[in-house]
């Protein structure tokens, strides 16, 4: 019993260290070749990321892979980044995880994922060069995953309400204002209910309140952090409901009279395709975004199949279909051409041209992601507690 308790505590400690970014030494040596498949690969993924044609036979990027490699794909859907971290920590069950930037570094720091040998990924060179060495999966020059897809938190708005004067600033969701239809924005805007949204407030303050000296919205000192919380408290009085899942938000645009909100191209794309008057913009302050990376468990039970999947995950057909399915920008830009669903402008609609205006999710750590002394920045666990308090009206 005692030994078990110690084990559990160690696991908890690892989980907790994960939040702070103290990197552990990688103990595994890199594989030099991909051997025969183990017959199976188990992937932790966002809903809709691993499709085998269950819903729509046109969206199937698994069946062919299984036939070609003999690796049967199983997947576990995770609802949040934090659930992904929890699932991967200490797991000997899962091989891969499609981690967003607010989870990936925690996974690396916690030793839950292993460095991968990019020489074994034939299509690595086709990956968008802007993503190849991205800081959310590359630590000390080591690669901990293969980019999968990325998307932005854009400002979505009802184009009927805004008419000829579309918004160009996040101010419409942060400050009380009158919309072109003559009514206040109160009760007609939404905000994302994840703690990472504090970064959106910080990004807005970065332009509107330069004295705060915010450089990176994921690395906030106490003063900057409190300013962001104050802004969010004002927002609370304007927000009817915070959005949590994409479908409920689409309902809210359609049935609740929501006029403007941070959203994903996914929602605006589907609503537009249903003929709903909606548009989206990357406001002048810029936007946050998420970039997902397929990462490999440090104790992956089926490493060869995992490597085969990582290679397969970069094929342009899959990348293009996924980008259409999810309103994202593919990690392989070649996927933007000739995809039957995306069409010629699909990638541009999803934002492939606006990459430079986007600040991708990172996990806030107390040493400002390794750029300052510990204790300088406000760590993520406080973001969670405080954001919950803000939503509760505190």
């Amino acid at each position: 019993m005692r030994a078990r308790a110690v084990l559990l505590l160690t696991a908890l400690a690892v989980l907790a260290t994960a939040c702070t970014g103290t990197a552990e030494e990688a103990t595994t040596t890199l594989p030099t070749e991909v051997g025969d498949g183990e017959g199976k690969v188990v992937i932790v993924a966002w809903a809709g990321y691993i499709e085998r044609g269950d819903y729509d036979p046109a969206f199937d990027w698994v069946t062919e892979f299984e036939a070609d490699t003999g690796c049967l794909v199983e997947h576990k859907i995770a609802g949040t980044s934090d659930e992904m971290v929890a699932l991967m920590t200490g797991s000997e069950e899962y091989d891969l995880v499609t981690a967003s930037g607010d989870a990936s570094l925690r996974l690396v720091a916690g030793g839950s994922v292993q460095e991968i040998n990019i020489d074994l990924i034939e299509s690595w060179d086709t990956v968008d060069p802007r993503l190849q060495d991205a800081e959310w999966h590359t630590v000390d020059g080591k690669h901990y995953g293969v980019p999968y897809t990325s998307g932005f938190n854009v400002l979505g708005f009802n184009s009927e309400i805004f008419g000829d004067t579309p918004p160009d600033s996040w101010s419409v969701v942060f400050e009380e204002t009158t919309f072109p239809d003559g009514a206040s924005n109160q009760g007609r805007i939404q905000a994302y209910d994840g703690p990472i949204y504090i970064a959106d407030a910080a990004l807005y303050l970065k332009s509107t309140n330069p004295e705060l000296g915010i450089e990176d919205p994921y690395q906030l000192n106490e003063e900057q952090y409190q300013a962001a919380l104050d802004l969010l408290r004002i927002q609370r009085t304007l927000v009817g409901r915070y959005w949590h899942d994409a479908y409920i938000q689409m309902d809210d645009f359609k049935n609740e009279g929501v006029a403007a909100s941070s959203t994903w191209p996914f929602q605006t794309g589907i609503l537009a395709s249903e003929g709903f008057p909606i548009d989206k913009v990357v406001p002048k302050e810029g936007a946050t975004g998420w970039a997902d990376t397929t990462m490999m468990n440090s104790k992956a039970p089926h490493p060869n199949c995992a490597y085969m999947w990582m290679e397969h995950s970069l094929n342009p057909k899959l990348q293009g279909d996924l980008a259409y399915f999810f309103g994202t920008v593919p990690a392989v830009l070649a996927a933007c051409e000739g995809n039957e669903f995306l069409g010629p402008d699909g990638c541009a609609y999803n934002g492939s041209e606006q990459f430079d205006e986007i600040l991708f999710w990172k996990t806030p750590t107390d040493d400002c992601n390794g750029t300052a002394d510990p204790g300088t920045c406000v760590p993520y666990y406080r973001w969670v507690t405080d954001y919950l308090a803000v939503i509760g009206g505190r």
Partner: protein, 310 residues
């Protein structure tokens, strides 16, 4: 009892043996459930309690395995107590509403419905339990939305002004029914209602019709009969049902994310601290709020005979 001779004699011997040794028989009966519930379940709860005395380092967020009361201190800061008060008040209001709505139906079923009608009614109360909780909660989203089903009828009846006035009531109103506290309340009541109807019905079934007739024969007005005879007999059922409605509201974390104004409830707070923040000590400490509330509640409910009516 003609088949006794075909029974293996061993069974006879065992049963006679046990019959003569009530202690051993009790041990055998109680052993498995006790290991399961006290050992596994009780042990799990205890492990959870222990973890609430660990803490996160306030600067780095690293878990520190030292016994401290820090986590419990954080638990009782303003934001968290607000969550507790909100949740417990909602649970109380939902419970009262469930009693009010459940009683007439349960009473009708127990007292007036004939055999066939009664069967149909019991099934009608059971059916919602069988259809997916999630799908039903999502369907309320559309029912309550600003351009949803209720509104569709309100518009056709020309009662927009009344709805508008209602939504302007501070505290319970909001931009639309589905974003209001009142809408959330409606969904909670809806979802837990069968858990109240069934025990009330069961305890009313046990009220002999003759008792009520006697009361009437002795000249009691219906209201008096209700107050002095029916209600006291129903109290154990009400108490039993309220254990469900109260506890289910305390812990639910799905309804508040779908309906209402996103204000956090205890269940949601525990879920976020555990999953999102990796703050297991705080999640564990928070878990003991509903445990404490329910402990008090059960003690009171027991006085009212709830355990005999569950």
């Amino acid at each position: 009892m003609t088949d006794t001779s075909t029974r293996p004699p061993l069974l006879h011997r065992v049963s006679t043996y046990l019959h003569q040794r009530p202690r051993l028989r009790l041990l055998l009966m109680i052993g498995l459930p006790a290991i399961w519930l006290v050992g596994v379940y009780g042990g799990s709860l205890l492990a959870l309690l222990v973890q609430s005395f660990f803490r996160l380092n306030p600067f780095s967020g690293v878990l520190e395995r030292v016994i401290s009361l820090d986590t419990w201190n954080t638990l009782f800061t303003g934001a968290n107590t607000a969550v507790m008060i909100r949740t417990v008040s909602m649970a109380a209001v939902v419970t009262v509403a469930c009693v009010v709505l459940a009683f007439p139906l349960a009473y009708f079923m127990a007292r007036y419905a004939h055999k066939k009608t009664k069967t149909i009614l019991v099934l009608a109360v059971l059916i919602p339990l069988w259809s997916s909780y999630l799908v039903r909660v999502y369907s309320w989203k559309l029912i309550l939305a600003a351009d949803g089903i209720i509104n569709w009828f309100v518009e056709r009846l020309g009662m927009e002004a009344a709805l508008e006035a209602f939504l302007n009531v501070p505290g319970i109103g909001g931009p639309s029914l589905s974003i209001s506290l009142f809408g959330q309340f409606l969904v909670f009541v809806y979802i837990w209602l069968p858990f109240m109807i069934l025990p009330i019905h069961a305890s009313l079934e046990r009220v002999p019709g003759s008792l009520l007739e006697a009361s009437a024969d002795l000249g009691a007005q219906p209201a008096l009969t209700f107050r002095k005879v029916t209600w006291p007999m129903a109290i154990p059922g009400v108490a039993a049902g309220s254990i469900f409605t109260f506890s289910l509201t305390l812990g639910d974390y799905i309804i508040p994310t779908i309906i209402g104004d996103s204000s956090p409830f205890i269940g949601l707070a525990i879920y976020s601290y555990q999953g999102v923040a990796g703050n297991l000590p705080l999640a564990a400490a928070f878990s003991f709020v509903p445990i404490a509330v329910m402990a008090v509640y059960l003690t009171v409910a027991r006085k009212f005979g709830a355990f005999e009516a569950l």
